[in-house]
Every structure is written in structure tokens, then in C-alpha cells.
Amino acid sequence: MITRFIDRHQRWLFPAPAVIFIVVMMIFPLGFTLWNSFSGWSLTAGRPNTFIGPQNYFDLLRDARFWNAVLNTFYFTALAMAVELALGVAMALLIDARDYPGKRIVTSLLLLPMMATPVAVAMVWLLMFEPTAGVINFVFGQLGLPKQLWIAGSSSVIPSLVLVDVWEWTPLITLIVLAGLAGLPSEPFEAARVDGASYGQTLWRVTLPMLLPTISVAGLLRFIDCIKTFDIIYGMTGGGPGFSSETLNIYTYNQAFYYFNFGYASALLVIFFTIVSGVSLLVAYSRRRLEV
């Protein structure tokens, strides 16, 4: 009897666990956040979870800290992605250039920064960046270079945070690009050699164009990760000095878990979600165009 029931409803039953999981863990939270973003829910104001219309969104548009956070988020993301993509591709080309003993070991070593826990990474860099007692300024002093404020200066904080992100995540790009390089056909390269193309010409006209789909996937992955970077910023600056490294994610966190304005924080999240999915769709679309 049960067997017959299962047989008859196979196509519903087998995907059911996955469907339930997606509904409970993704669709419900998303819907609930959307609902909250139209509510005035706030513990500090003592307001319940009741509908107030798009008021939160209007308030956001006039919120200087929101725009500051948008700016910081894109500054961090753009800088980190530019450096990581350039460095990551260059490292991959360098590693792939020729065979040498220990090549595998180099590739494995690349994985190490990515395996470290981000909060632990943040704590170690925090100590290294310390302006008076930190090792980086000590080395700078020994080399006769001027000591820097690093994460304690409002103009140097984001580049310093980018440095940490670059240290941790450039290898990811390198590994993806290495995989892409391994999958390239050899005929175009032979043709280029026969035609007498120099290394630079081959790189610019053959290798990179063929790698573009791979690079764009790596870039998209890094974009999504960069824009939602939380752990290293929270662990190292908490958005400071002042508000100079407060990204959208940190601001949302402050609104939700320090100010307890859950409605407002939800509106921030909805905007954040729209930005991330918008850019992702754009990249996916342009990638499809590239491949055609």
C-alpha cells in the first residue's frame, strides 16, 4: 500500500526534502525579511512588527550613513577585485608557464591562506597592523620607511582591509584560472607560434580572450564574497575609525544587533540583496553574450 503510494507520487516525494529545505531555509527567511522591511519593528523604540509601508526605504534614502556605507562597500569591492584579479591571473600564468619540480607543492601552498579561519586571520592582522607595537610598522621602521596608521587612519583603513582580503583570497582566483588554463586547447597556441607571435601577443590575443569566461566566473565569485565581506571588517575595525570602513553589511549588523531596529535593518538587507543579485544577473548575462 505504502509502496504503491510512493510509486505513484515518486516525482513529488523524492525532491520533497530538498524543496522543504529550500522553503524553510531560503524562501521563508527571504519573505519574512521582505515583510519586516515594511514594518517598524524595533526593540529600542518598543514598536511591534506591524506594517508601516515603504517608510523604511524613504528613511534610508535620507540616511547619510547608508550612502557612506554604499560608497565604502563599492570602494572595498572594486579595489579588492581589481587587485585580486590582476594578481591572481598573473600568478596563475607564472605557475603555468613551464614545468618545474615542486609545481604541485606550490599549488598546494596557495591553498593555505584560504584554509585559515577569517576571524583568526583578522585577529593576526590586527596585531600586525598595530601602529606602535605591530610587526609591519617595525619592519617599515627598520627599512627606513615612514610608519603608517593602517586600519587606524580613516583614509588608509579600506586599502589595509583590502590587503588582508587580497592575502586571503587571491589564491582562489589563481586556482580557478589554473584550472581554466589546463582546459585550453593547444591548437590556437601552436597556430600562434607558427605565425611567429611573440609571448606578449600570444598572451593578449590568444590566452586571455580564451580565459575570459573563466576569469569572469572567478570575478563573479569574488564579487559576491567581497561585497558581503563581514568577518575581517567586523573583527578588525567594526566599521571604524568613525564610520570610515562601515560597509552595508556592517551597518546592517549595527542596525539589527546594536540598535535593534529590525525593520530598518531588513530594508537594508533587501536593498543589499537587490544589488548582489542585480550584479550577478548582469555578469551572467554578459557572460552568455561573450560565449555566443
Binding site: 529600542t44 587606524a152 540583496f273
Partner: protein, 440 residues
């Protein structure tokens, strides 16, 4: 989405805990009703386990070794979970919001969170609990009790009091032929004279981090004649007095402070002072052992403590209850929790936490007892006694206090960085006014 990701696991956990907790709570109920076996008469709550959530704080360090006494005397088991201050606040709020939390007793910062928590009904009013004449609640300083009383609800029993004081390096002042600063002008002059950046000696250090600095900035603000808002709830962050205070605090840290001060809360500032890199330091009286304990400080024998220096309005420092011990309204062991709170804040135990553990409490009889003040350096006791008439708040008395601190602290950090602090203060004043208006 994030809100839910955080809350959902808690909901599940709470559901689990609620399922498990019910049968555990049941046996303790008849015991509390007095129907226990005669042998257990002295221990009506034996077998109960209390969940206590608190901060990593000298009081927690002082009380922890004493818990065994309480457990032996009452048969109540106490599980003390200690967290960082920010994590503590988040844990409490998340658990209480999710509902059904099994936290019984918690450490709370009355000025920081009592208004929000009271508004949300998370406190058990302790008025009845402390009414036992043997306990002598009248012994607690009125000001301290006033701080923990919100809208008529006694939200907690004061356990730690603090005032802002000036820590100074005796040897450096002496070498420069300077007296201990008694006015803010003298403080600035001394900070300038003692700064020697090549030798990494900085004349002044204090908190520079956006939110933590606000409480220690408060005494500068008050002494310059300012306040957060006036009697009509009009924000006063950009008055001439407040601007002078912001400028002074910013100048002291920018010109005479160590590099990286913008990322410093008290642990970082203390570290600079305790390593011998700073000459003057204003912060809470309660953290003095970090500078005066030879195990923690390289300058323990060279550090003095003085009353907060006077500004144009006089020497007006804060004098507050920084921590209270509170009971969760959802506790399933309220009688046992009350027993614990009364024990932990009894004369006997406060004499130990204060007299031996050196945590300044709020019981007047303990301060009057020579043993109660014995653990503290003489100049510290003098500075604290001189602060008795200080203001009872070190941050604006509003519900959205974290937000208010960020708004005000943000303007002060602009001054520390040497930016246009007047514009920043005007901006902060408008934002703070909007916040005040939203709370009426």
C-alpha cells in the same frame, strides 16, 4: 535574511530547551513550596541549576571562586557563562527576543541597556526580592539604586560603581617639574610638555573608538559646562560648551596621543599606559588594577590617581552604577535566582568582592568598613570619594543609547582626526535631536 538566520536556530534551540527544561523544573517546584523533606529544610532549592550569564569583568573574576560557598550552602548549582560586553548584550537580546530563554540571572549595564530591556519586559522587578530586612537594601547608595531603577522597576541590584578619574605617571610629572593637573587647562599643558614622540612617550591617552569613547568624553563635556540634551529634550551637542569639549578631547588625542588612538577602547588604551608609553590617562576608576597591579603593569609603582580635572564649570565627572545583577522575567527558578542575587550582593560577599577582589561596590556599610577600602590604593580612594557628587549618567539617558553613542562618538572622532568637527557636531546634533524626538 540575516536576522532570521540568527534567530531561527535560536527558535529551534529554544524549542528543544523548552522541551527538556519542563521535566527538570518540575521536581524543584514542590521543594520551593516548602513540602520538602525536613533534612533539606535549610536547602529549599537544592538540586536547582541556575543559568547566570555575565561579562568578562573583575566582578565576575571575584565572584567565581566564591560560587562554591553558595553551592555548598544552598545546594543550588550555578553555571556562570562569561562573555565580552558586546557579545553579552547581543546574547541576552537575541535569547530574550526569541522568547523562552532559560537565563535566570544576568549581569546588565543599567545605563546601556536597562531602558530597552525594561521596555520589552525582560526584567523581573526585584523590589520584593530585596525587601528582606536582614539583607538591608537601604545600605545601597541612593544614587546607585536610582541608576538601576527604570520607570519604577528595580531592574537590578548595583554590583559595580565607577567614576571617571585621572591616572598619571608620578615619575614623568616629577621629572618635568609639573604638579598633578587639577584643571583641564593644566591637563592640556602637561600633556603637551610630556609628549616625546621620538621616545614613544605620549602625553595623553584615552578611548578614541567611536562608541566606547562617549562615556569617558562625558566628564569633559560636563566639566566644560555641556550636557547631552537640556530639560526640554533639545539636543545640545553643538553648543559652544560642547564644541569646546569636543575640540579639547580631539586635540588632546590628536596632538599628544599615541598613533592608532581611533581604534582604542579601554583595553588598548590601558595597554599603552601600562607599558609606560603614556603620561596621563582619563578613564573609569574601576579599571585601575590594570595600571596599579605589578603583574599587569610595568609602571605600577609610578602611577597615581587623581580626581577628574576641573573645567570652566568645575570638576564634574560621572559617578554611576556600571553593572547591576538582574533577574530574567522568564526565569523558571525565580526564588532560587533571588536567593543567589541576595547572596552575591550581601554585606558579607560584597566585603569580599570589594575588600579582597577590589571591585568597587555600592554598599555604604562596606565602604565605611576599613576592610572594605583596604584593597584600594589610598589616592584612588581619595579620588573616588571626591567624585561622590558626580553626575549619575555617563551617556545620554535614552532608550536607543547605542545609536546615540554612535552619533555623538562619530563627531568626536572627526575632531580626533583633525577634521571639521563643528560641521560634524552640527550634523550629530540634528541626528540626535531626531532620535530624541522619536522617543517621546
Amino acid at each position: 535574511m540575516k536576522v532570521l538566520q540568527k534567530v531561527l536556530p535560536f527558535l529551534l534551540l529554544v524549542a528543544l530547551v523548552a522541551g527538556c527544561a519542563a521535566p527538570v523544573a518540575a521536581p524543584s517546584a514542590p521543594a520551593g513550596g516548602g513540602a520538602a523533606a525536613p533534612a533539606e529544610g535549610a536547602q529549599p532549592y537544592a538540586g536547582t541549576t541556575l543559568r547566570l550569564v555575565g561579562a568578562n569583568h573583575p566582578w565576575q573574576e571575584a565572584i567565581t571562586p566564591l560560587l562554591a560557598e553558595f553551592e555548598a550552602a544552598t545546594g543550588i548549582k550555578v553555571n556562570f557563562e562569561a562573555l565580552g560586553e558586546d557579545q553579552l548584550n547581543q546574547k541576552l537580546t537575541t535569547e530574550f527576543t526569541a522568547g523562552g530563554s532559560d537565563i535566570d540571572v544576568f549581569m546588565q549595564r543599567p545605563l546601556q541597556e536597562a531602558r530597552v530591556m525594561q521596555l520589552n519586559g525582560w526584567y523581573e522587578d526585584l523590589t520584593n526580592c530585596v525587601s528582606d530586612p536582614n539583607y538591608d537594601f537601604a545600605d545601597f547608595a541612593d544614587g546607585a539604586v536610582g541608576t538601576t531603577t527604570v520607570n519604577g522597576v528595580l531592574t537590578g541590584v548595583p554590583i559595580v560603581t565607577e567614576q571617571e578619574v585621572l591616572y598619571y605617571r608620578k615619575d614623568l610629572l616629577e621629572a618635568a617639574g609639573l604638579a598633578v593637573p587639577t584643571t583641564l587647562d593644566e591637563l592640556k599643558a602637561a600633556a603637551a610638555a610630556l609628549t616625546d614622540k621620538d621616545k614613544e612617550i605620549y602625553g595623553f591617552v584615552a578611548r578614541g573608538q567611536r562608541s566606547p569613547l562617549v562615556t569617558q568624553f562625558s566628564s569633559f563635556l560636563y566639566s566644560m559646562g555641556g550636557d547631552w540634551f537640556d530639560a526640554d529634550r533639545k539636543a545640545t551637542i553643538n553648543t559652544p560648551e560642547a564644541l569646546a569639549a569636543i575640540d579639547l578631547y580631539g586635540t588632546l588625542l590628536r596632538e599628544y596621543g599615541p598613533p592608532g588612538v581611533l581604534n582604542m577602547s579601554w583595553p588598548q588604551a590601558v595597554a599603552i599606559f601600562a607599558q609606560g608609553n603614556a603620561a596621563l590617562y582619563t578613564d573609569a576608576s574601576s579599571i585601575y588594577s590594570n595600571m596599579l597591579d605589578p603583574e599587569k603593569s610595568a609602571v605600577a609603582d609610578k602611577t597615581g590617581v587623581a580626581k577628574f580635572p576641573a573645567g570652566p564649570a568645575g570638576s564634574i565627572m560621572y559617578n554611576v552604577t556600571s553593572w547591576g545583577l538582574a533577574m530574567h522575567s522568564g526565569s523558571k527558578h525565580k526564588e532560587a535566582a533571588c536567593e543567589f542575587i541576595k547572596w552575591a550582593t550581601s554585606k558579607e560577599i560584597v566585603l569580599k568582592t570589594q575588600g579582597e577582589g577590589a571591585v568597587p561596590g555600592a554598599r555604604e556599610s562596606v565602604w565605611a568598613d576599613p576592610a572594605g577600602a583596604a584593597a584600594f590604593p589610598a589616592d584612588w580612594v581619595e579620588a573616588v570619594a571626591a567624585s561622590a557628587n558626580g553626575r549619575g549618567y555617563d551617556r545620554p539617558l535614552v532608550t536607543a543609547v547605542t545609536q546615540a553613542r554612535d552619533i555623538i562618538g562619530g563627531a568626536v572622532t572627526v575632531a580626533i582626526e583633525g577634521g571639521d568637527y563643528v560641521a560634524a557636531a552640527n550634523d550629530a546634533n540634528a541626528q540626535f535631536q531626531a532620535l530624541l524626538d522619536s522617543e517621546q
